[in-house]
Protein backbone atom coordinates (compact mmCIF):
# COMPACT_ATOMS: atom_id res chain seq x y z
CA UNK A 1 0.00 0.00 0.00
CA UNK A 2 1.18 3.60 -0.49
CA UNK A 3 3.37 5.17 2.17
CA UNK A 4 2.89 8.67 3.56
CA UNK A 5 6.16 10.37 4.46
CA UNK A 6 6.25 13.62 6.41
CA UNK A 7 9.00 16.09 7.19
CA UNK A 8 10.39 16.40 10.69
CA UNK A 9 7.92 19.23 11.27
CA UNK A 10 4.92 16.93 11.11
CA UNK A 11 6.27 13.73 12.65
CA UNK A 12 4.85 14.72 16.01
CA UNK A 13 1.36 14.45 14.54
CA UNK A 14 1.83 10.88 13.31
CA UNK A 15 3.13 9.44 16.58
CA UNK A 16 6.71 10.58 15.98
CA UNK A 17 7.06 8.41 12.91
CA UNK A 18 8.72 9.50 9.67
CA UNK A 19 6.22 7.56 7.58
CA UNK A 20 3.01 5.58 7.78
CA UNK A 21 1.12 3.20 5.52
CA UNK A 22 -2.07 4.66 4.08
CA UNK A 23 -4.96 3.33 2.02
CA UNK A 24 -6.36 5.04 -1.02
CA UNK A 25 -6.65 4.92 -4.78
CA UNK A 26 -5.92 8.65 -5.10
CA UNK A 27 -3.85 11.20 -3.21
CA UNK A 28 -7.05 12.68 -1.82
CA UNK A 29 -8.22 9.28 -0.54
CA UNK A 30 -4.81 8.59 1.01
CA UNK A 31 -4.73 11.95 2.81
CA UNK A 32 -8.23 11.39 4.16
CA UNK A 33 -7.12 8.00 5.43
CA UNK A 34 -4.06 9.59 7.02
CA UNK A 35 -6.05 12.19 8.95
CA UNK A 36 -8.51 9.50 10.03
CA UNK A 37 -5.65 7.40 11.39
CA UNK A 38 -3.91 10.44 12.89
CA UNK A 39 -6.57 13.04 13.82
CA UNK A 40 -3.97 15.53 15.10
CA UNK A 41 -2.67 15.81 11.55
CA UNK A 42 -5.96 17.13 10.16
CA UNK A 43 -5.62 20.71 11.46
CA UNK A 44 -2.19 21.03 9.87
CA UNK A 45 -3.17 19.63 6.48
CA UNK A 46 -6.75 20.75 5.87
CA UNK A 47 -8.50 24.04 6.59
CA UNK A 48 -11.92 24.34 8.25
CA UNK A 49 -13.60 23.76 4.86
CA UNK A 50 -11.69 20.56 4.31
CA UNK A 51 -9.45 22.04 1.64
CA UNK A 52 -5.72 21.39 1.56
CA UNK A 53 -3.98 24.27 3.32
CA UNK A 54 -2.19 26.49 0.84
CA UNK A 55 1.18 26.14 2.51
CA UNK A 56 1.11 22.33 2.30
CA UNK A 57 2.84 20.74 -0.66
CA UNK A 58 2.19 17.16 -1.70
CA UNK A 59 4.64 15.08 -3.68
CA UNK A 60 4.19 11.64 -5.19
CA UNK A 61 7.53 9.94 -5.72
CA UNK A 62 9.36 13.29 -5.63
CA UNK A 63 7.02 14.97 -8.12
CA UNK A 64 4.73 17.78 -6.97
CA UNK A 65 1.09 16.75 -7.49
CA UNK A 66 0.50 20.18 -9.07
CA UNK A 67 2.47 18.78 -12.02
CA UNK A 68 0.44 15.59 -11.95
CA UNK A 69 -3.29 15.32 -11.42
CA UNK A 70 -3.52 17.34 -8.24
CA UNK A 71 -5.22 15.59 -5.35
CA UNK A 72 -6.96 13.27 -7.80
CA UNK A 73 -3.60 11.81 -8.86
CA UNK A 74 -3.98 8.05 -8.90
CA UNK A 75 -1.74 5.97 -6.67
CA UNK A 76 0.01 2.66 -7.08
CA UNK A 77 0.67 0.33 -4.19
CA UNK A 78 4.36 1.23 -4.14
CA UNK A 79 3.95 5.02 -4.32
CA UNK A 80 5.40 7.34 -1.72
CA UNK A 81 3.45 10.47 -0.81
CA UNK A 82 5.43 13.25 0.88
CA UNK A 83 3.85 16.16 2.76
CA UNK A 84 5.95 19.28 3.25
CA UNK A 85 4.98 22.73 4.48
CA UNK A 86 6.10 25.81 2.55
CA UNK A 87 9.02 27.62 4.11
CA UNK A 88 8.83 31.39 4.02
CA UNK A 89 9.30 34.40 6.23
CA UNK A 90 10.47 37.96 6.29
Amino acid sequence: MPVLKVGALMRYYINNQAEAAVHGATVSDALQDAVTQYPNLRFHVFDSEGKLRRHINVFVNDQNVRELGGLETKLNESDRITLLASISGG
Binding site: A8, L9, N57, N64, A85, S86, I87, S88, G89
Partner: protein
Protein backbone atom coordinates in the same frame (compact mmCIF):
# COMPACT_ATOMS: atom_id res chain seq x y z
CA UNK B 1 15.02 25.27 25.28
CA UNK B 2 18.55 25.37 23.97
CA UNK B 3 20.14 25.07 20.55
CA UNK B 4 23.76 23.97 20.30
CA UNK B 5 25.96 24.80 17.35
CA UNK B 6 29.64 25.17 16.61
CA UNK B 7 31.54 28.37 15.91
CA UNK B 8 32.09 27.13 12.35
CA UNK B 9 28.38 26.64 11.73
CA UNK B 10 27.59 30.06 13.15
CA UNK B 11 30.28 31.58 10.93
CA UNK B 12 28.72 29.89 7.88
CA UNK B 13 25.29 31.27 8.79
CA UNK B 14 26.75 34.75 9.15
CA UNK B 15 28.66 34.45 5.88
CA UNK B 16 25.48 33.46 4.03
CA UNK B 17 23.67 36.49 5.46
CA UNK B 18 26.50 38.76 4.39
CA UNK B 19 26.68 37.23 0.91
CA UNK B 20 22.94 37.74 0.42
CA UNK B 21 22.96 41.35 1.68
CA UNK B 22 21.03 43.59 0.97
CA UNK B 23 18.62 40.72 0.37
CA UNK B 24 17.59 38.09 2.89
CA UNK B 25 19.55 34.86 2.86
CA UNK B 26 18.09 31.59 4.14
CA UNK B 27 18.70 27.89 4.48
CA UNK B 28 18.07 24.81 6.58
CA UNK B 29 19.56 23.65 9.87
CA UNK B 30 20.38 19.93 9.87
CA UNK B 31 21.09 18.14 13.10
CA UNK B 32 19.69 16.04 15.89
CA UNK B 33 16.81 16.54 18.26
CA UNK B 34 16.90 14.32 21.33
CA UNK B 35 17.49 15.39 24.89
CA UNK B 36 19.19 18.39 23.37
CA UNK B 37 18.85 20.01 19.99
CA UNK B 38 22.11 20.41 18.07
CA UNK B 39 22.89 21.77 14.62
CA UNK B 40 25.49 19.62 12.85
CA UNK B 41 25.56 21.32 9.48
CA UNK B 42 23.61 23.81 7.39
CA UNK B 43 22.24 23.84 3.88
CA UNK B 44 22.37 27.39 2.48
CA UNK B 45 19.75 27.94 -0.23
CA UNK B 46 18.77 30.47 -2.84
CA UNK B 47 16.09 32.94 -1.80
CA UNK B 48 13.32 32.18 -4.29
CA UNK B 49 11.16 35.22 -3.65
CA UNK B 50 10.69 37.59 -6.56
CA UNK B 51 13.40 40.25 -6.99
CA UNK B 52 11.46 43.15 -5.48
CA UNK B 53 10.67 41.28 -2.24
CA UNK B 54 13.97 39.63 -1.43
CA UNK B 55 15.15 42.53 0.76
CA UNK B 56 12.53 41.67 3.40
CA UNK B 57 11.14 38.25 2.48
CA UNK B 58 12.51 34.79 1.83
CA UNK B 59 11.03 31.69 0.26
CA UNK B 60 12.37 28.16 0.05
CA UNK B 61 10.69 26.25 -2.75
CA UNK B 62 8.96 22.95 -2.03
CA UNK B 63 11.43 21.28 -4.39
CA UNK B 64 14.42 22.64 -2.40
CA UNK B 65 12.68 21.53 0.79
CA UNK B 66 12.25 18.01 -0.56
CA UNK B 67 15.92 17.86 -1.61
CA UNK B 68 16.91 19.02 1.87
CA UNK B 69 14.82 16.29 3.50
CA UNK B 70 16.49 13.70 1.29
CA UNK B 71 19.94 15.13 2.08
CA UNK B 72 19.18 15.02 5.80
CA UNK B 73 18.10 11.39 5.47
CA UNK B 74 21.31 10.61 3.57
CA UNK B 75 23.39 12.14 6.36
CA UNK B 76 21.42 10.45 9.11
CA UNK B 77 20.25 13.84 10.38
CA UNK B 78 16.93 15.68 10.64
CA UNK B 79 15.82 19.07 9.43
CA UNK B 80 15.47 20.89 12.71
CA UNK B 81 15.08 24.45 11.59
CA UNK B 82 15.59 27.36 9.26
CA UNK B 83 18.00 30.26 9.36
CA UNK B 84 17.54 33.59 7.66
CA UNK B 85 18.92 37.10 7.81
CA UNK B 86 17.30 40.46 8.52
CA UNK B 87 19.20 43.06 6.50
CA UNK B 88 19.39 46.31 8.49
CA UNK B 89 16.71 45.09 10.90
CA UNK B 90 16.76 43.54 14.39
CA UNK B 91 17.06 39.77 14.76
CA UNK B 92 13.55 39.36 16.13
CA UNK B 93 10.77 37.54 14.23
CA UNK B 94 8.41 39.72 12.23
CA UNK B 95 4.66 39.20 12.06
CA UNK B 96 5.23 37.74 8.61
CA UNK B 97 7.68 35.28 10.15
CA UNK B 98 5.00 34.23 12.64
CA UNK B 99 2.36 33.85 9.93
CA UNK B 100 4.52 31.37 8.05
CA UNK B 101 6.43 29.63 10.81
CA UNK B 102 5.75 26.12 12.03
CA UNK B 103 5.95 24.77 15.57
CA UNK B 104 8.91 22.43 16.15
CA UNK B 105 11.42 24.20 13.89
CA UNK B 106 14.13 26.40 15.36
CA UNK B 107 14.33 29.74 13.55
CA UNK B 108 17.72 31.40 13.69
CA UNK B 109 17.58 35.05 12.66
CA UNK B 110 20.76 37.00 12.00
CA UNK B 111 20.86 40.77 11.96
CA UNK B 112 23.04 42.06 9.11
CA UNK B 113 23.80 45.77 9.34
CA UNK B 114 25.37 47.50 6.33
CA UNK B 115 26.53 44.13 5.02
CA UNK B 116 28.07 42.91 8.28
CA UNK B 117 26.50 40.07 10.28
CA UNK B 118 26.07 41.29 13.84
CA UNK B 119 24.29 38.69 15.95
CA UNK B 120 22.09 35.59 15.70
CA UNK B 121 19.22 34.60 17.96
CA UNK B 122 17.00 31.53 17.78
CA UNK B 123 13.23 31.31 18.19
CA UNK B 124 10.51 28.68 18.30
CA UNK B 125 6.83 29.18 17.57
CA UNK B 126 4.64 27.85 20.36
CA UNK B 127 2.04 25.22 19.49
CA UNK B 128 -0.96 27.59 19.38
CA UNK B 129 1.01 29.81 16.94
CA UNK B 130 0.38 32.90 19.05
CA UNK B 131 4.01 33.87 19.60
CA UNK B 132 7.65 32.91 19.36
CA UNK B 133 9.75 32.02 22.37
CA UNK B 134 13.47 32.61 22.29
CA UNK B 135 15.72 29.59 22.73
CA UNK B 136 19.24 30.08 24.01
CA UNK B 137 22.03 29.44 21.54
CA UNK B 138 25.00 27.61 23.02
CA UNK B 139 28.20 27.83 21.00
CA UNK B 140 30.73 25.03 21.34
Amino acid sequence: MMLRLSKDVLAQIHAHGEDAYPEEGAGFLLGSDGNERAVKTILPLTNSREDAARHNRYLITPEDYLKAELEADRLGLSLIGVFHSHPDHPNRPSEFDRDWAQPFFSYIITSVDSGKAIESRSWRLIEDRSQFEEEKIQIN
